[in-house]
Amino acid sequence: MSGSNIIFYLLAALTLVSALMAVTTRMIFRAAIYLLFSLIGIAGIYFWLQYEFIAAVQIVVYVGGIVVLIIFSIFLTQQAGEQLPKQKLGRQLFAALAAFCGLALVMLQLVQHDFVATANKAIEPTVANIGTQMLGVDEGGYSLPFEVVSMLLLAALIGCIVIALKSKPETT
């Protein structure tokens, strides 16, 4: 039982407990804060796995971008102190049942399957390696998906502007 193990279990507990609180709490603003802690826990797990670049991207994009966006939209669309209406018990029960059955099915498959690791030499996921392969055009390079994602982001940008535009009143 080393310190590394303890840190891992703490991060896992933080992630799962705050995710559970985020989907069950009835205060919508608290749900956003619990989601924030859950995402930070996942970033901590990435740090623990020594994928520092992914952890940094996770913190910058999710914690710094998406959660702030969600909090802004909560402020714009409803009162922050207001409680959500209580859900029907039957719906909650059936949702919990469906989620639990899916969880049990996947876990059964997982414990029965025997994963075999590759025997090749490991490469370090350093930023230099990631950048070289991300913009590589030879075999295994990811420059085409990179360009496609940049087009997607541009399309999302234009789409957001078009959606948010105030439609002019009809003049006849």
Binding site: N5, A19, A32, S38
Partner: protein, 104 residues
Amino acid sequence: MIEPGLYHMLFISTTLFFIGVYGFFTRRNLVTMLMSIELILNSVNLNFIAFNKYLWYDKMDGLFFTIFIIAIAAAEAAVAIAIIINLYRSHKSIDVENAEEMKY
């Protein structure tokens, strides 16, 4: 307690996925449904990273998939929130029950 390995990561990501599914089924507010979707996407990211770390450490494909999923999730959240705020402007509510005339 045993040394954390691939199965621990898969356990965390599976549990996180079904917590997100539960939230998606029970919530009726569009912003909280979006939060559940973010949880589901994060569990998928964790899955990719775990397989890359423990099984195919000679490649970095799982890492690239994670990066692209994060980029797409950011775009998706931005568009979804634009739609939600626009819906709030026209309906004064963001519950899915009040937005059902889009069906017809």
